[in-house]
């Protein structure tokens, strides 16, 4: 769909690579899980004391691990390493086969290494994730449509809330770096592919492998702890928690692999002449995001490994009776959890900073300030985690320093605002959906940021902590700012990825429905939060009824807008207007290759001679 062949190659022989695909992966994964489950049932000894689930946890975790190993073997992830082991490296023909050469739509169901295929795979799985998370959100909001709730069983409601949370977090983490970091970024820097194409495929298929344990967990009692899975709550939760643990562990590996791959690609494979001053700001955003994830996600990974050990082996990391500590979990979780917010935000804001010069025909206002802002946010984000724990009683003496670091982060964030506003200032605005998204981001992120300052303040947080105010705040940052940037990126790069223009009318309709619905929904949520409604409840006092009804109404408007967007994606992809080579008249390299993009992107590698934002300058 996205590539053409540059030169013919001989057909590969009937090797194992050719036989493996998504369906063999499903089959082998399922078979492995069933066999290990049956063996574990047969041979694992009964617990000698009365414990909560320990043997069942062992069986569940072993079966899920078997699924994971079976699936990754079945998709072909282990072929490369074992061929390396045997000293029989993949041949040129096999590599071309892996790249998806001459395979049409089948390559999307294989361990395909072409970064453009991986980008499209990420785009589709991101939409699927948002679809599932969105349905869960609508179930939550429908249940909260009336004070007494009761439409969904409380236990199921808890699980829906937890699953919605973690699914949406994962969706937002990959929504920019997945589709656009993979499809667009290598072309934007003038590279033929990613540095490690097989790792690229690995990072995608790990996410697919991770999804099954999460789904599996829904049939084992679900995730009744909220997305944070705090211990010791998690160690007492039903077996569904094992699905969460496996999901996070596999996803963390995917994120680490993607982080190493993207960073190496940018550092080592930029085109000649693309100095750091000429590297597009979007690239900085993507690299900052994945580089931040590199040290952060292993901590999350460890927190879940220890959770699994507590559940399955009866160790005492989080169990106070055995010398463990719930605060330990909170620390490990939030050491990852807060940088993760910026892993989501930075690439989305950077994407809008990339678009701002294009649609204003102005140079990017103060490129260096933009980089300082990104670097400042990245650096400070690893020093703010304990603001999530003010009210937990952990180390009260540290509240003040953490309050200070958290409030300091508004300075580099302000720099990004300055760059966007400065770029818009006196620009010749080309009013497209991405342009309006810049304004939407400024509005939403301003509300998200200012409400965040209140939450970073210990006395205010004492009142607001655990309320709907917090939920509204982080939706304003992750959805109002993050998702807005990602949707703009979709419309902006749609022609480069599909060869067709995104339907203009549908993009506008969707934009306004989502933005109006979003502000109705979450301003309503702010009001009930300020009035004292706690979050994660399935019924509430009737005094909060009006605010909740407004929020539910707003949520339905968002859903309708998203459905319009989905229709826009499908209809534009199938029968949209054919895109010209550079429909936005942008100056970055991804618009020079045309569509379909050749397998190796460039016949001759480009040499960069000017900065990417030289709008309004003579001879630029």
């Amino acid at each position: 769909m996205t590539t053409v062949m540059s030169k013919p190659v001989s057909a590969p022989g009937k090797s194992i690579i050719e036989k493996l695909n998504f369906f063999t992966a499903l089959a082998l994964g399922a078979l492995s899980a069933i066999v290990v489950w049956r063996l574990a049932l047969q041979f694992l000894p009964q617990d000698t004391e009365v414990r909560l689930f320990t043997r069942e946890d062992k069986i569940t975790l072993l079966s899920m691990t078997a699924w994971f190993v079976g699936f990754m073997t079945g998709i072909g992830a282990l072929v490369g390493p074992f061929r390396w082991l045997m000293g029989k490296d993949l041949t040129h023909e096999e590599n071309m086969f892996l790249a998806g050469k001459d395979m049409g739509v089948k390559r999307y169901f294989r361990y395909t290494t072409d970064h453009k295929v991986v980008g499209i795979q990420y785009l589709v799985i991101t939409m699927l994730i948002f679809g599932i998370g969105g349905i869960l959100a609508m179930l939550i909001r429908t249940n909260l449509g009336t004070p007494e709730g009761g439409w969904i069983h409380p236990q199921a409601y808890n699980s829906i809330v937890g699953t919605h949370g973690i699914v949406m977090i994962v969706g937002t983490i990959i929504m920019v770096t997945g589709p656009f970091g993979n499809f667009i970024m290598p072309i934007m820097i003038g590279a033929r592919d990613m540095a490690f194409p097989r790792l690229n495929a690995l990072s995608f298929w790990l996410i697919v492998a991770a999804a099954v344990p999460l789904l599996w967990g829904q049939f084992l009692g679900g995730i009744s702890t909220g997305w944070t899975a705090y211990n010791p709550l998690a160690s007492q939760a039903p077996l569904g928690m094992d699905g969460y643990i496996m999901f996070i562990c596999i996803f963390a590996i995917s994120t680490m692999v993607a982080g190493a791959n993207i960073t190496t690609t940018v550092v080592k494979m930029r085109a000649k002449g693309m100095t750091w001053n000429r590297t597009p700001i979007f690239i900085y955003g993507v690299v900052a995001s994945v580089a931040l994830a590199l040290p952060a996600f292993p901590v999350f990974f460890l927190s879940q490994v220890l959770s699994a050990m507590d559940r399955a082996l009866d160790t005492s990391f989080y169990n106070t009776a055995g010398g463990g500590s719930g605060w330990l979990y909170e620390n490990l979780f939030w050491i990852m959890g807060h940088p993760e917010v910026y892993v989501i935000l930075i690439p989305a804001v950077a994407a809008l900073m990339e678009m701002a010069p294009v649609f204003t025909r102005n140079p990017l206002f103060s490129f260096n300030v933009a980089i300082m802002g990104i670097a400042g946010i990245s650096g400070l984000s690893i020093l703010v985690w304990a603001h999530h724990m003010y009210m937990s009683g952990w180390a009260p003496l540290l509240n003040t320093p953490f309050m200070l670091t958290t409030e300091l982060i508004s300075i580099p964030t302000g720099m990004l605002f300055l760059v966007l506003v400065g770029t818009l200032w006196r620009g010749r605005l080309w009013m497209t959906m991405p342009t309006m998204s810049i304004f939407a981001l400024l509005w939403n992120f301003m509300i998200g940021g200012i409400t965040g300052i209140y939450l970073s303040d210990v006395p205010a947080d004492a009142f607001l902590h655990g309320s709907m105010y917090v939920t509204a705040h982080f939706h304003y940052t992750l959805m109002g700012a993050g998702l807005t940037g990602a949707l703009a990126a979709l419309v902006y790069w749609f022609p480069a990825m599909t060869g067709r223009m995104f339907d203009k009318k549908l993009s506008w309709i969707s934009f306004w429905m989502v933005q109006i619905g979003f502000n109705i929904a979450f301003i309503g949520m702010f009001t009930v939060g300020l009035a004292g409604q706690p979050r994660r409840v399935e019924a509430y006092a009737s005094t909060f009824n009006t605010g909740n009804m407004i929020t539910t109404g707003g949520a339905y408007l968002i859903m309708t807008g998203m459905l319009v967007l989905l229709y826009g994606v499908i209809s534009s992809w199938r029968s949209g207007v054919i895109a010209p080579k550079n429909p936005w008249q942008a100056k970055t390299l991804e618009w020079t290759v045309g569509y379909p993009v050749p397998l190796e992107n460039f016949d001759v590698l480009p040499v960069v001679t000017s900065d990417p934002y030289g709008y309004g300058k003579a001879k630029s």
């Binding site: 045997m86 040129h92 490690f196 460890l302 490994v305 009776a321």
Partner: protein, 200 residues
């Protein structure tokens, strides 16, 4: 498409340099993981919640005493020997001596197998069970994850030796350089674990 597809475009040193950076970045993740384990150990040790870091004797259980620190240091010493052997092989291939590479990588492989046998034995013969307090939990955390590290090392060392045996590293040897980076980190991480367990 893969790196190998571009082999005709790029000098092996360019590919090697790229691969080295990629491995170093993956190691950053692994280092963060290891440092988190150290944090867990010293956090729980310092907190000593309910005096259960090393539970005292009760009518049902004898007191839990820490394992002799020699166990952690021994596996580190075996790993360090493996690293030295691998480095010897690396020096050989840099000087164009394939025999030295084969010998060094074979000894490194044997050392990694010895290390995993020793590590397994330490876990299997530990005089406590998983539920015997926070110190014991941390001991198993270090021991099991070191076991996983050594398993990876065996895989890598086996491949490295096999490829040396087949003469694949005659033209370029950046794979061997990268394997050496892994060996160094494996020894350092084992050392960190041994250091922590020596401070019960």
């Amino acid at each position: 498409m893969s790196v190998e597809t571009h082999a005709h475009h790029e000098h092996p040193d360019v590919v090697g340099s790229r691969n080295r950076l990629g491995v170093v970045l993956l190691l950053v993740a692994d280092i963060a993981f290891a440092l988190s384990m150290i944090f867990v150990y010293f956090y729980l040790r310092q907190q000593n919640v309910n005096d259960m870091w090393l539970p005292a004797a009760t009518s049902e259980h004898p007191a839990i005493t820490p394992l002799a620190s020699g166990a952690g240091w021994t596996v580190t010493a075996i790993a360090a020997f493996g690293l030295l052997a691998h480095f010897y092989g690396l020096k050989g291939v840099r000087a164009g001596n394939q025999t030295q590479l084969k010998l060094g990588s074979l000894v490194a492989l044997v050392a990694s197998i010895a290390a995993i046998v020793y590590q397994f034995n330490t876990i299997a013969t530990a005089p406590f069970t998983f539920s015997d307090g926070a110190y014991v939990s941390c001991f198993y955390m270090f021991a099991i994850l070191n076991f996983v590290h050594i398993m990876l090392t065996i895989f890598i060392s086996l491949g490295n030796w096999n490829r040396a045996r087949l003469g694949i590293y005659k033209s370029d040897h950046w794979h061997v350089d990268i394997v050496n980076v892994w060996w160094v980190w494996m020894v350092v991480s084992s050392l960190l674990g041994a250091f922590a367990l020596s401070h019960p």
